[in-house]
Amino acid sequence: MSLDLPLILAQTALLLLLALLLSGLIRKWKALLQNRRGPPVWQPFLDLHKFFRKDMVISEHASWVFPLAPYLVFLTSLSAGLLVPMVAAQAPLGLFGGALALVGLLALGRFFLALGGLDPASAFGGMGSSREMTLSAIAEPAMMLAIFTLAISAGSTNLSQIVLASQEPGWKFLDPSHALAFIAMFIVLLAETGRIPVDNPATHLELTMIHEAMLLEYSGRYLALIEWGASIKQLVLMTLLANIFFPVGLAVKTTTATFGLGLLYLAGKLIVLAGIVVVVEMTNAKLRLFRVPDLLSVAFMLAMLALVSTFLFR
Amino acid sequence: MNPDAIQSASNLITLLASVMLVLQLLLAVQSMLITNIRLFALQSFLLAAIAGVVGYAYSAWHVLVVAALTVIAKVIFLPWLLERQVRQIKIEQEIRPFLNMPASMLICGALTVLAYVVARPIPSLERLGSNTLAVAIALVLTGCFLMINRRTALTQVLALLTMENGVMLAAIALTTYGMPLLVEIGIFFDVVVAVMVLGILVFRIRKTFASMDVSKLNELKW
């Protein structure tokens, strides 16, 4: 096992910063497509800074679970990020957990966030966590299956191994099963990051909101941590999507050149992906809550199909 | 002992046995209690007579004892007992049986036939008159039918006794010399006691249920 510290630190930093940039970027583009000028790309940084400096109001009904949630959300998504190969094909901590650990960590964060939503005894929080958990209960397996599809082809559940396997000859890009898995994964991405057909991050219209409803009682630095964690999670998922389905340009051997190249590739892929997300958000309307499961079960079915197909046509 | 004596003896026995059967059939259709009892007494007497014939023909004295016992117990004592009962409870008329006369006749006939079918293949036992065994079986079967068909407690006792007659007939007819005396006596003793016990029960039932109709005894079920 090789723990090279600089790589870890680098990726941590990358996650922390790139995440905010990415969400800023998406927000900006949406604004542009809506013929608004929109906030600057670095707006998230400013928001975070502001939140950190604000006083906090904690509900009098809240118990010791309430303050736990923000830290867990933040830490889980951050450490999940360290399991994902971003620039280098070998994720810094890839040895210590593969796809399952990644999904598990994200689920852990969600678990506590949902509890945090229930804690302040407000109906909104309960509503939010109920919906969030229900939707993720279908989204999460779909994501797992999508990853499994690749895991089988690569013969490993470790993301780095998947990427490395894809470098070897005889790996076919996007054979049918992978394509199916990709679509499923993309739908999951929309759901998990609370994008439009599923949820609308921009609104606080009580009856439609899902993710935001849980955060209603959070303020100050807690809110900051949660928001940050959420955007890191978004980054992680998009990176995952980008890198394991299009594993080009990741640095296999560790030289600055390859790293630079990898960084560029990553940026490119993320930008494209963000573009797609924005387009989807702009062109679709938000679904009714009880139609969302249909969408997600479509994803689930696609993923299962993908899995079965890898397995039949081999 | 001379064979023709035996021959005539066996003829005699056959005759008497068939008369017993006829009496049984009469019992099956007769509905006056007293008459029933008398019929039974007569039947038992015939049984005793058969026993006597056997005992005489084969000079088997203890069979004569059996005959004597039969006369005492079944021809005199039990009928007297039962008639006393009837007088006490003042019911002469049999309660309407389940099956009417022709039907019961028919069934009795069928049972007799069955008895013959069952009895035929038995070899080497007809020393004492042909088809005595068949008659015995027929007596038992028809007696059983009588029990099922009649409603009066007394008649059921009577039917039981006629069955017992059949058994004794078989005992005498099949087994050259009847059974060991001890057993015979024991059986007689038991039968008498049984009838007395039955009498007690009939009396108590009569007292508590104010009726002799045993088909009214149906509180205990399931």
């Binding site: - | 024991g186 039955l198 045993v214 205990l220």
Partner: protein
């Protein structure tokens, strides 16, 4: 001299009771008599074991005791002792409440010894004729005992009992005579053949086959009626539920088995004469039918004692079917089962007796629940007894039942084993459901009945058999085991 004394002891007790005045003396005589009887029975089975296998005869082969009869004697002795212990408080209380008159009180104490004596004669008599007489005597005594209470229902029960039993007995006598005749048919007309079972067995192969078949059928139906094999069992629940509890215990604990014993004697003859095919399968069929029939009645039963009676029906069926399978393991299991059942069933009837005296009903709906609260001791013993008879460990019936079924499996009666198991499970469901409903639940639910007043006598009478059952489940003396094995051997016709 031993056999004679075993026989005469209860007779003497009975006669003594006939003339003894004070009630205490009656009770004492009974207790003493049966206690000594138990001692003698133990002595008998020791002696039988001592002259290994060879039967023990007295009075010129009039009395004969082999392993089988010794085993039965033991059962009779134990159960009647337990019954007589229990009878003391039971009848006292009945007398106090005026349920029975003083005359009936005496009647009970006179008849019970005769009852026992009759059963002993059945198992000890060598001549089949005498055996029949004894069975009849047993029937007559027990009829009067059943009718002891002289209520409508008890009279009805007694009447059904005596009429059905009488029919059965006449048929049995018929069969007996046929057996005798079968013997004559071969042994030449001129000599008076002996009516003794041992002789008949000796010359079994030469007996007239046709007559033997006829005889066995008649005896099967006849003694089958007394043993309560379905569909001749119909008198059984009535008689058992209406008799005074000690009598019910003796009826279901031993007298059924006595009838089975009588049946077995003929079964052995028939098997020896005809080859065991027909007789075995008849026994097996009737046994299974009884087991299956018992289930539904227990499932929807309303009356505690009737339920117990049906469970006896089921156990009788099990024993017969086990013997019918005729494998060493099954027959041994049947012997075992006889013993265990004889120990377990009385406890239940005693408990039922307590409940009846406390609450004057045995109807489950009227009893309601919560007996665990209102009469704890009885409830506890009743529960234990129920556990025992429904064939659960740690009580022996589990062992015997499993032995029988296992024996069935290795002797290729797999389907029989399955049917038995199914029947047992059904019965278990019924028993559990009813008994649980009876014992558990809030005690106050049924109109605040007074806590039971239970006398030491009945506690002893109930806990003693259970203790023995438990003891003999986990530690079976070799001597007893040998006895049972020999009995099994006799039944299987290979002594």
């Amino acid at each position: 001299m031993l056999l004679t004394s075993i026989l005469c002891l209860p007779l003497a007790v009975g006669l003594a009771c006939l003339f003894a005045r004070p009630r205490k003396v009656l009770e004492f005589l009974n207790l003493l008599g049966f206690a000594v009887g138990l001692g003698l029975a133990v002595k008998l089975f020791k002696t039988v074991l001592a002259n290994n296998g060879a039967a023990l005869t007295e009075c010129g082969e009039f009395l004969r005791a082999d392993a089988l009869s010794a085993w039965m004697t033991l059962l009779i002795a134990v159960v009647s002792l337990a019954a007589s212990i229990y009878a003391v408080p039971y009848l006292r209380r009945d007398l106090a409440e005026g349920v029975v008159s003083g005359r009936r009180f005496r009647e009970y104490y006179v008849l019970t010894p005769f009852f026992a004596a009759g059963m002993l004669l059945v198992v000890l008599a060598n001549s089949l004729g005498v055996m029949w007489i004894a069975v009849e005597a047993v029937a007559l005594c027990s009829v009067l005992l059943v009718a002891l209470y002289n209520k409508r229902t008890s009279l009805e029960a007694a009447w059904k009992y005596v009429i059905l039993g009488g029919l059965g007995l006449v048929l049995a006598l018929f069969g007996t005579i046929f057996t005798y005749a079968a013997a004559i048919g071969k042994t030449g007309a001129e000599t008076m053949p002996s009516f003794n079972w041992s002789h008949l067995l000796a010359q079994a192969p030469q007996l007239d086959h046709h007559l033997m078949t006829l005889a066995f059928i008649l005896v099967l139906v006849g003694y089958g009626t007394k043993a309560g094999l379905a569909p001749m069992h119909t008198w059984l629940p009535d008689a058992h539920s209406e008799a005074p509890s000690p009598t019910s215990a003796m009826l279901s604990g031993v007298s059924l088995k006595i009838a089975i014993y009588a049946l077995l004697r003929f079964y052995i003859l028939a098997a020896a004469c005809l080859g065991s095919g027909l007789s075995r399968h008849l026994l097996l069929g009737f046994g299974l039918f009884s087991m299956l029939l018992a289930g539904p009645f227990i499932l929807v039963q309303k009356n505690l004692k009737r339920m117990l009676a049906y469970s006896s029906l089921e156990h009788v069926g099990l024993i017969c079917a086990a013997i019918g399978m005729n494998a060493p393991l099954t027959v041994f299991g049947a012997m075992l089962h006889m013993g265990y059942h004889a120990l377990a069933k009385p406890v239940l009837f005693f408990a039922a007796g307590n409940i009846h005296q406390q609450r004057h009903t045995l109807d489950f709906r009227r009893l309601g629940g919560g007996l665990g609260k209102t009469m704890p001791v009885t409830a506890l013993l009743l529960g234990l007894g129920a556990v025992a008879v429904s064939g659960l460990p740690p009580f022996g019936l589990f062992v015997s039942e499993l032995t029988v079924i296992a024996g069935g499996f290795i002797s290729h009666y797999v389907w029989v084993g399955i049917v038995m198991l199914a029947a047992l499970i059904i019965v278990f469901c019924g028993l559990l459901n009813k008994i649980a409903g009876l014992l558990l639940g809030p005690g106050d639910g049924n109109g605040g009945h007074a806590r039971e007043t239970i006398s030491a006598w009945s506690v002893v009478a109930m806990s003693l058999p259970l203790a023995m059952l438990l003891l003999f489940t986990f530690w079976l003396p070799d001597s007893l085991r040998l006895l049972m094995e020999q009995a099994a051997a006799i039944i299987r016709g290979s002594p």
